[in-house]
Structures are given as structure tokens and as C-alpha cells.
Amino acid sequence: MGMALMRKFIFRYLIPRIIQYLTIIFVGITVTFIIPRLAPTDPVEAQVSTMVAMGSSLDPESIEAMRTALTDLYGLSGSPVEQYFTFWGRLFRGDLGPSLDNFPTPVSSMIGQALPYTLRLLIPAVIISFIFGNVFGAMSSYYPENKALKVIEVLGQVVRSIPYYIVAIVLLVVFAYFIPIFPFSGAYPLGTRPDWSSPEFILKTIEHAVLPAATLILIGFGGWFVGMKSLTSNIISEDYVVYAETAGLRKNTILTQYIMRTAILPQLTALAMVIGTVFSGALIMEVVFGYPGIGGLAIRAIYSNDYSMIMGITIYSIIGVATAVFVMDLLYPLFDPRVRYQ
């Protein structure tokens, strides 16, 4: 682009979007800061009452003392407003603070430990289901008479309609118990320590990831399929497709270059978002397969009102999705020349 164009791009397109991007993050984080604080209980009480319920013999005085102590430790002594500002203050210093349920371990280190497991599993799974879903979706609208595709379509929808939890549990019981070809639980065998330098350990983790990934792929496939099918159903009757056919172009040239190439664009936006959402983990899957990911952290944090952990995870998730959307917005014109930077 020329200099003028560049300036136009920066001022008329880039800057507004960056502002938008930051606003979104700000609002999102603020919302998730408020919601848990509306709950009738707080992390301190979650701690104390759990201990009492667990039956540790504590006299009333020490319980009281523990409350005040924890309230100070957790930095919950101030009013919500004060907390809100200190929170942003810390955040700008890149500090998510200590987990309240696992005081004083920093939230960031706990997320840092769980996140890789989630990402390693979810991102490949999402991408695989994206590819298959879209290819088959496009094909099924381009070859409407093809029997095999019809079957795939129905199967895809069947699986998709089965509650996620059942798909997971069925895969687990069938392929890990009745036909024990895949591991039963976790991300690696009990009794072995993670060691990413050893190839056999990595193999083990892959082995352990198969069933969880399979669940996610099976679930995701149908959605992409339907989306792509409806998008392409518009395109197959476009002039340029008809023209390409009259010009006698090869079928798969038409399918890939003329049909999918245009239809994929909205799907890419969706993909960006879905990839963004993996930062909050795949909760049910992690519960069923005992997978040490973000989803597990999240649910624990919520049950124990661990504000800072909840904030930590949601911040990751919010920034993840927001960035994905932002980047997609910037890249979109590259994928689709029709959409020019205004």
C-alpha cells in the first residue's frame, strides 16, 4: 500500500479496532470481577467452614482469628471498590495475585501448569474437527446426491446431538474398559512424572489424549459441517461457479478454489473464536477423563469462591478470545479481498 493508504489504514481502521479491542477486554474483565462478588459467601468462609465441616477440632476463637487472618492475607479487607483498583494495579504489573484456595501459590503459576495440557489437547482437536467438518460440509452441498456424504451428514448430526457427557463416558467405558486399548484416566500414567524430553513419555501423553480428543472432535464435527453446508449452499449457484462448470473446470478445482475458498471465510472467524474459548478449558471432558487442565481449575475455583483464580482464568480466556477476534478482524481483508479496509 502507498503511504497515504497506510496512514488511512492506521487511523481509520487499525486504531479504532485497537480501542475496541481494549474496551472489550476491560468490560469483560470488569464483569467477571463483579459477578463472583455478588455471591452470599466469600473465599475466607469457604476455607474456614470447609475445615470445620471436615471435623478439625478448632475452638471458636481460633476460627474467628483465622477469619481475620485470611481476610488480610487474601487482601479482601478493603471495600470492593478498593479491591477493584488494587486488582487493576496488580494486573498492570502482570501479577494475578495468589490463589485464595491454595494460598499463597500464585494463580499464574497454577494456570501456567494446567494451560499447556488444555492447549495441547484442545487446539489440535478443534483444528481437526474444523478441517473435516468443513471439507465434508462443502462436499455434501456440492455433491447433493452422494449417498456416503448423506450418511456422514446424518451420523455427524447424531453424534452432535448426543450430550457431550455421554459421548465422553461411552468412549471411556468402551475403549478404556471393555476394550482396554486406551488409557483410563489422566494425561499420563500414574506413578510417572512428566518429562517432556523423553519420547516415550510424549508417546504416553498422546496415547492418553486420544479419547478426550476424539470426544471433542466428534462433537465439533457436526457443527462445522452444518455451518459450511449452509454457507456453500449459497455459493454453488453463484455465476462464477456455474461459469467455471461451463468452462469445464475439474470438479475439485471448483470445489476447493471456487466454492470452499469463499465459504470458508466466515468459518475462519468462528474458528478464531473457538480457539479463543479453549482458554477456559473443556470442563466436562476434563472431569470425565481426569485430565489436568484449566477446566478442572475453573470448577474448583468456583466451588471455593477462589476469586483470584476465577479472575485469572477468565482473564486468560477473555484476552484469548478478544485477541483471536482482533487478529481475525485485521486479517479478514487478506482472506477476502472484497472487504476493503474502509
Partner: protein, 649 residues
């Protein structure tokens, strides 16, 4: 147990016991006595043979952070029960929830029970000699003195409040004696040092004295005073592997027998169904808890699985009393008649079926029907209960139904067949005695007595404003029985015309404590189990500690019950020593008072379906050898390790 090799007896048993279809899939499950891929190796970990390693469920699941072994910090962490408090740490005294290896009371680190002066302002502790930390340093009074001193002076540490307020100063007349000088008389000061579920464990001074910030310190690797040391653990907190100390004889456990289990691994086995499958595949030796149905499946399909009771109801009854807890401050519920009406509107048999499939141990009175308590309280009170009357419409009314347990057994039998005992004494021992009648007329009358009125089929307050009683229930992922019970009670109450609904919470405790509830199924009564002293929970119930709803209750009085008579009993208990026989008398008085006032409606013991696999190990505790409680997160389970022996393969 393959299908075609079913013996005729097994077959008849099955046929009698269960409907054909529900029999089939579990048999399929059982068919696969095969190992799960996850642990097909004969080694659990490098150099750790499976048949030498006891695999236990850590009911707290995945432990995060995995590497923080600071057990003394305020707040709870799953790391407490990953083997740390069971195998590595030790305390002065233990009170067993059941009979105990060598009596209920065990002097562990202490050489003898606490010695109080007459006015309970001094407590002298004499310690054992010849006990060693796993790093070879000898254990002594210094450690005890140091521990209490550190906690007393470090805000953010557990028990800080207690020691701050009650310990004036300490003296160490000799290396193995510590004397506590208390600021005020306290006949139960030793409770803080006495393990029931947990208590004050002793720190290794030589480690902690070098620590800058005890609150932040992670005590990793943990130096052990117990028979085991940490061999390895999962940075993601899903497993902890403990190894028997070479010098295990130099620990307090050695007195009681040989520690013959070489390794122990505490794992996060996942949801209930997975635990069942794991044990069917012999990859999980000690299950902490599962659904009753899971337990029944194991009973039918896994001949090697054993429980506390040899048959129905299998479960170990924790010394904990699930109850319907009323917020005694809510309009309507502040009336005794209403609380009694709600009690009589509960069909305990249905509740027992819905929650535990009848595998419950019910209690009409306000102490758990477990451990030694039936002898202490339930049996002595039985005659009184039979004649006990309350006023219903001015008339005397006998609310007690001695046949309740029998009714439960009869109702459970059609679906469980001869898994359910028939001998009345066994039933009394396993399922409990009687409970309160299910009598809607009486309940109706009581409501009217309280001035409540029925507005188009639903009960309303005397002023006609709606009387809604949403029932909160505890619904942790690990155990659904409480929630199932609550759902049944909601059903019962709805039938009685109460405007109610189910509010199930994974973590109800903070909500209870804050009093943000109307009614709630959980517990506020826990006891020593093996020792009759009720101060364990009554300490929180004195009106001087009363806190109104909206603020966090001081301890377990989350029902906000205040009663001068109750205060009198508590004060009396405070006056007498821990082992004073009067204690039981006062306890009985409390039970009678609670029965009349019905501040909460006692239901049953908290039955935990702890299930143990005898494929690799044997010698687990049971009702026939109740030397301790097998529920694996309890500190007391350390005693299992002197009784459990690997099977000679």
C-alpha cells in the same frame, strides 16, 4: 467371575437378588477383571511392584498446588490428605472413631494422657522418647514447644487464635516434657492436640526454625515423623507415592505392630463410576466413597471387595450426623411446632431408600449412631424415646416409631434380596433403631397449633404471607447421597403442602455459615466417635457465641439455635474433665433437650462406602475387627498400616 462359571448358589442369589437386566451389564463389567491400560504394568512406578503398593483414593481429588506441604497454614488443602496427615505427620494423641487398635485413646507422640491441674489452667504433656524424624533428628519437647510458639506468634497460621488467646506461656522442665500455662480454665485444651479427623501436628523444629516466612513456606520435601516418607509425587497433584521408612521402628506406630506395607499411593481416581471400574480391575485398593449403586455392583461382581459391614449396608458410618438443619431465625421455623411438623412430614424409610437404597444407619436423636455411640446414647435412650411425648393439639402425642429400621430393611429387600439382613439384632446394629413417625395428620395439627394457615393447599405464615422453605443440599461430586436424600425430603414436604424446592450446592458450608439459607441438609453435629464427650461440637453452641444470620457463624451453630437449658448443659460440660463419667449424663440431657426442641432433624449417619480390595492386601478394618476407621482421608487411618498385610502371591 465369568458368567458360565457362576455357581448355582451365586446364580440363585443373583436371580433372587436382582432383576435380570440390571444383572447383565454389571456381569459384563465383572467379566473384565482385566487390567486397565493405565496401569497394566506390574510396576506402579519405577521400582515399585504393584503387590507391594497399597493404592488409596484421595477424596480431595487432584491436589493443587501439588508441592505445598505446609499443613499448618490457615485454610484447607487437599495436600493434608494425600498421605501427609495419615502417613508422614504425627500428633500427641489420637481418639479413634471406632474401637481402636489398643483402646479408643492412643498416646501417640505423648507418653501419657494430658495432665491438668485442678482448675484446668495448666496442661502438662509428657512425650515419648526414642522417636525420630525421617532425617535422623530425634523428636523432643523442643519440637512441640517450637510448634505451639510459632503458631501462637504467626498470624495466618492455623490455631493461631487459640494459642494466642489461651496459652499464657510454656515451660520445658525437661527434654520430653512441656507444660502449658493457660490464660483461662479450659478442660478441653488437649482437644486441639488430639486427632479425630485432624488436629495440631507437630513441626520439625530443626527445619522450620530456619524458615523466614512460615506462611509462605511449602515444607517440600516434607520431613516425616510417621512411618512413611514421600518418595515421589505428581506435579499435577494426581498421585502421591509414599515409601516405608527404613527406620519405621523409630516412629510411634511401631508400638502397635509391624508396618508391612512397603509403599502407599494416594491417587485421584475420578468420578464414582470410574472408581468402581478401577476396583473391578484391581487398580484401586481402597475406595473412599462411591454411589450406593456402585457399592452394590461391587458387592455383586467383585468377590475380592470388602467393606465395613460384611453385607448390606457395607458403608462405614462416619461419626457425623446428616440432618435437616433449620435456620431457627426464619419466620415459621422459629417455632418448635413447625420444626416438629416438618420432621413428622418426612418419611424416613423413603429417604433412606432414595439416598442410600436403604443402606443407611438412621438416628432419631441428635448424636451419630456410630462408633461407640449406640452404647453411649442410643440404647440407653430407647425406653425414654418409646414414652416420649410432645403436645399435638393439646394432646400428648408419641412421635417415636421403633420399627423404622425394620421398615427400611423390608422395603430394601425386594430389590436387594438376601443382601439385606433379616436378623433384628443385626438390623439394629447395621441400619439403626427407630425414628420419628411419618404422620401428616399430626404434622398438620402442629402447624395449626403454631398458628400457621393453609392458603389454597400451601402452608402460609400466621399473617398469611407465604411460607417458603427451599431446601439446600450438599452435592459434592464425590457423594450424591445427601442430595438424593434432600430431593426425597423436598418431595415429602411438597406432599405435605410446603412450598419448597431443591437448592443443591457443591460447597454449602460457607452458605450455611453465613446463614443464607432457610433449611439445609448437611451436618452441624460431629463427634469423637470413640469418645462420648460432646464438647467436640457443643463448644460452638453456647449462646455467647451466637451470631445472627447474615454474619458468619462461630463454628457449627449455623442453625442459630439459642436455649438457656442448652447453655447450662454446655457450661456443666466445661466444668468437668474429659473422661468424667458425668459427661455421658450431660450428653443424654442434651439429647432429650434436642429431641423436644428439634432445632434440627437428625436423619442418619454419614455412611461412607469405603470399599477395600483384598486382591493384593488383607487385614482391613471392619465391624468385626473395628480397630479403626478405613475412610482413607482420616488421620486415624495410619493405624491400618500396622494391620494391613500384603498377600503372599
Amino acid at each position: 467371575m465369568k458368567k458360565h462359571t457362576l455357581t448355582r448358589r451365586d446364580f440363585l442369589k443373583q436371580a433372587a437378588a436382582i432383576t435380570a437386566a440390571s444383572a447383565l451389564p454389571p456381569q459384563l463389567l465383572a467379566l473384565h477383571g482385566n487390567k486397565l491400560l493405565a496401569a497394566q504394568a506390574e510396576e506402579v512406578a519405577p521400582g515399585v511392584p504393584r503387590n507391594q503398593c497399597l493404592i488409596l483414593e484421595n477424596p480431595s481429588g487432584t491436589v493443587l498446588p501439588a508441592d505445598d506441604f505446609n499443613r499448618w497454614r490457615s485454610g484447607y488443602s487437599g495436600v493434608w490428605v494425600c498421605g501427609l496427615q495419615q502417613l508422614a505427620l504425627d500428633a500427641l494423641w489420637y481418639i479413634d472413631p471406632d474401637a481402636g487398635v489398643d483402646g479408643v485413646w492412643d498416646n501417640a507422640l505423648a507418653a501419657e494422657p494430658p495432665i491438668y491441674n485442678d482448675d484446668f489452667t495448666q496442661m502438662t504433656v509428657k512425650l515419648r522418647e526414642g522417636l525420630y524424624w525421617s532425617d535422623g533428628v530425634e523428636f523432643s519437647g523442643d519440637d512441640l514447644y517450637f510448634t505451639v510458639d510459632l503458631l501462637k506468634n504467626t498470624p495466618g497460621m492455623g490455631n493461631q487464635g487459640l494459642f494466642e488467646r489461651s496459652v499464657d506461656h510454656m515451660e520445658q522442665p525437661d527434654r520430653y516434657t512441656v507444660v502449658f500455662y493457660l490464660k483461662a480454665p479450659n478442660s478441653r485444651f488437649h482437644a486441639a492436640f488430639t486427632v479425630r479427623w485432624g488436629a495440631l501436628y507437630i513441626m520439625p523444629k530443626h527445619i522450620w526454625e530456619q524458615v523466614e516466612d512460615p506462611v509462605a513456606y511449602t515444607f517440600n520435601p516434607p520431613v516425616s515423623l510417621g512411618a512413611y516418607t514421600l518418595r515421589d509425587f505428581d506435579p499435577n497433584g494426581q498421585w502421591y507415592l509414599w515409601e516405608r521408612r527404613e527406620d519405621w521402628q523409630r516412629t510411634s506406630l511401631a508400638r502397635l505392630g509391624e508396618v508391612s506395607v512397603k509403599y502407599a499411593m494416594y491417587i485421584d481416581p475420578g468420578p464414582s463410576d470410574k472408581r468402581v471400574l478401577s476396583q473391578l480391575a484391581h487398580e484401586l485398593d481402597v475406595i473412599h466413597d462411591i454411589t450406593p449403586e456402585g457399592r452394590i455392583t461391587l458387592a455383586r461382581e467383585s468377590p475380592t471387595s470388602v467393606g465395613w459391614f460384611p453385607s448390606f449396608p457395607w458403608a462405614h458410618p462416619d461419626p457425623t450426623l446428616p440432618a435437616v438443619i433449620y435456620n431457627n431465625e426464619k419466620p415459621g421455623l422459629d417455632k418448635r411446632e413447625v420444626r416438629w411438623a416438618l420432621t413428622l412430614a418426612i418419611d424416613i424409610a423413603q429417604v433412606a431408600l432414595a439416598s442410600y437404597r436403604g443402606a443407611a444407619t438412621i438416628s432419631a436423636i441428635h448424636v451419630p449412631p456410630t462408633g461407640m455411640y449406640p452404647q453411649f446414647y442410643h440404647q440407653p435412650l430407647e425406653p425414654w424415646l418409646n414414652d416420649f411425648t410432645i403436645k399435638v393439639g393439646g394432646e400428648d402425642y408419641k412421635p417415636y416409631d421403633p420399627a423404622a429400621a425394620q421398615r427400611i430393611a423390608d422395603l430394601a429387600r425386594p430389590s436387594l434380596g438376601d443382601l439385606v439382613p433379616t436378623d433384628p439384632d443385626i438390623i439394629r446394629q447395621y441400619i439403626g433403631a427407630g425414628w420419628w413417625k411419618y404422620d401428616l395428620q399430626a404434622a398438620e395439627q402442629l402447624m395449626l397449633d403454631a398458628g400457621m394457615q393453609k392458603v389454597d393447599g400451601k402452608w402460609a405464615l400466621p399473617d398469611g404471607s407465604p411460607f417458603t422453605v427451599p431446601l439446600m443440599s450438599m452435592n459434592p461430586e464425590s457423594n450424591p447421597t445427601m442430595n438424593r436424600a434432600a430431593a426425597m425430603i423436598v418431595e415429602n414436604w411438597t406432599a405435605f403442602g410446603i412450598d419448597t424446592s431443591l437448592d443443591s450446592q457443591a460447597n454449602p458450608w460457607p452458605i450455611m455459615s453465613a446463614g443464607e439459607y432457610t433449611a439445609n441438609l448437611a451436618w452441624t453435629i460431629e463427634t469423637w466417635g470413640g469418645h462420648p464427650d460432646l464438647f467436640f461440637f457443643l463448644q460452638y453452641w453456647h449462646s455467647r457465641l451466637y451470631v445472627p444470620s447474615g454474619e458468619n457463624a462461630a463454628g457449627s451453630n449455623s442453625m442459630r439455635w439459642r436455649n438457656p437449658e442448652l447453655d447450662r448443659i454446655i457450661e456443666a460440660i466445661e466444668q468437668i474433665s474429659f473422661d468424667d463419667p458425668q459427661g455421658v449424663e450431660l450428653g443424654l440431657e442434651f439429647c432429650r433437650l434436642a429431641a423436644q426442641e428439634m432445632p434440627i432433624t437428625p436423619l442418619m449417619a454419614y455412611n461412607v462406602f469405603t470399599t477395600m480390595d483384598t486382591t493384593y492386601f488383607e487385614g482391613y478394618p471392619s465391624i468385626d475387627d473395628p480397630y479403626t476407621d478405613p475412610v482413607p482421608n482420616w488421620g486415624n487411618t495410619k493405624y491400618m498400616f500396622v494391620k494391613i498385610k500384603p498377600k503372599e502371591a
